[in-house]
Symmetry: C4
């Protein structure tokens, strides 16, 4: 489509449009697949199937709901920030393509640590599951850090992009790796503390998102 | 893409385009994943596999078909209305982003109560399953109510949007929460009444959708 | 996006763009989900796992590959024709929305009869599976027939659309329901004849697709 | 949307936009579905569930992580190249449509050989799994070769497309089939050699991707 609209644009400018659309597609699919982890409760024998048993089976699955909820909003905030970054990008090159690809790979994997927490949060293995979850987001925050570096190189960034906005984005992501690392270490001792930090983090990022 | 088209647009206007595209992606994926609940019938022993047995196995799965059908058109109507709302929105901000995110979260979850009804509609636990289904749509209608509030704030709504259209949308959603609540209460006594109300509701909303 | 581009367009014209994008999303997801039916072969006991056993396990799954292949290209041809129809549509209204929604519902269901054929083609229940498959496409061809009627009503069709093109599309779909019905009846006697007709049909439609 | 933008464009030009968007959708979904192969480890008995056991269960799954990683970046590079090809295409016709459809079919199937390698890489059947994986990419590289032929026919290629760019793309794909064939043969003797060649190939293609 862009091909037709902006015949005067350089190929690199056009690349950004399709890169963003592709990234949005991956974000949209990954965020929707999270809900596949919500499983219908099953019963061993047919005679156990009563309304009360089903209701309590649904209630016992709260770790699934909690993990789904946390991951959904974390990915949503990631999408918002991904968008904020690309609004300041003018061109695309191979480096940006693969920095973005690395982040998208991590986005598609989010349902995996989410399912792990959903399944093991109420078991003795909760600490391993939550440490893995938080540790995975250390990787995600490093992925964002790499994307910020790749996106704000002089050769691709929009020359008219406000330096203040770039600095704002850089600053808010500088805290990601150490905070998720703290959550990872916390997970070794207290699974709930790890999940609490992870939940707090998406809320902080959501609230500090700028409107413009 | 929009970046190139409307260089004169403010960043906030451009945000709406990508927000809608992302929302459409989530709606399209969630509505397609509903069909994953349609499962091929299996047989305990190989000697049971006859054409008649397979045909009757397919026929016995009618609760799946019914739940799929109801949920598919409910999500389709939700998509139509989501679109109708965003046509009147001019800007995007954090509040709208998260009001929309909350609704999208509910959209991605629709396959879960659908699978629950599909599996338990013919069992003694049908009332719990249908109460959960209707109760979930109470949440959805609250989500729409919150989105309407967020979308029609003065700071984001299109100043040229027709007040009559806004009022029409508001009015049609005001009835959502109490009607789904009635279906939820009905589900405690009669699963079929709950599902009947839910089916009637998407039909009413479909028929009362305005063309423009 | 379109909101910004064509401020002079009526809301109904703009609707078509988002309707097509949404439909394309559903087609793209449904066609991709078909591949989920390709399952890795499993072995009862660990000592059975040899290269030769795995190779033969993969080879024995040919009904899956055949069903996947047939359904993939059938959906691809459907997408091409869906596109051809919407190129001639100017406006959107509630009738078109739900005629299109009904067809999309059938598109999302395609993986279900496909999985059925994949699982039962080599069993004594093959005739039931293939009859169901062909019968499902009777429904699909009726869905297309309804869409053609809805799309080419005077109030929504592009007034400059070539009458010859409309007639070409109408004519090619008039044959759908009787031919798939013949395949359905054939399936009761010979599963392979049913699948052969279904395979021949997407090829015929592919070849007779016009370029313009 | 394009319908509104480029009223002067011929229908065939418009086709390319929707063809690309559809292809991007399929790429985005297929690449995201790869992560569904990452499975939460399960334990036979409840008393086995300790943090150490879960950690070691996660570690033992490294073949899944490796297969996922290789396939993710292979598909990402395929998407980049698909895009590079279509930037040079001006029109669409039935031949291009089905050459592209054949490649998309292969893209949707990538999760299948990936799951096969993930499950059998640590078993005695590794050679069969890795031969199948590499053999599948022989098919993919033939698919690309057919697409290149279809895309660069005089009737559809952009007449202003740089002959050097076309030659660059052609040359880089000429090596695909023989190299993947070598990996396939290697797989019969050494599964790791096959996977090593497949990994090396996406890296080479990534590095040799041109920016413009």
């Amino acid at each position: 489509m862009t091909e037709i609209i902006s015949e005067t644009g350089t190929p690199s400018e056009r690349e950004t449009g399709r890169l963003e659309a592709f990234s949005d597609g991956v974000f949209a699919i990954a965020i929707t697949l999270l809900a596949l982890e919500l499983k219908v409760p099953h019963f061993e024998s047919g005679s156990d199937v009563t309304p009360a048993a089903l209701a309590s089976g649904l209630a016992r699955q709260w770790p699934s709901y909690f993990a789904f909820f946390t991951s959904f909003f974390t990915v949503l905030v990631m999408w918002v920030h991904h968008h904020a970054i690309f609004r300041l990008v003018w061109r695309s090159d191979v480096t940006l393509l693969f920095a973005n690809g690395f982040l998208l790979m991590l986005v598609t994997v989010v349902p995996f640590p989410t399912a792990l927490v959903a399944e093991y949060l109420r078991t003795p293995a909760a600490s391993a599951a939550c440490t893995f979850y938080a540790g995975f987001f250390v990787l995600v925050s490093i992925g964002f850090w790499v994307l910020l570096w790749a996106a704000f190189r002089k050769s691709v960034v929009n020359p008219h992009a406000s330096a203040a906005k770039i600095e704002h984005l850089r600053r808010s992501y500088r805290l990601g790796p150490p905070l998720y690392l703290a959550a990872t270490v916390a997970g070794l001792f207290s699974p709930w503390l790890a999940m609490g930090i992870c939940s707090a983090l998406w809320m902080v990022w959501a609230v500090t998102t700028r409107d413009d």
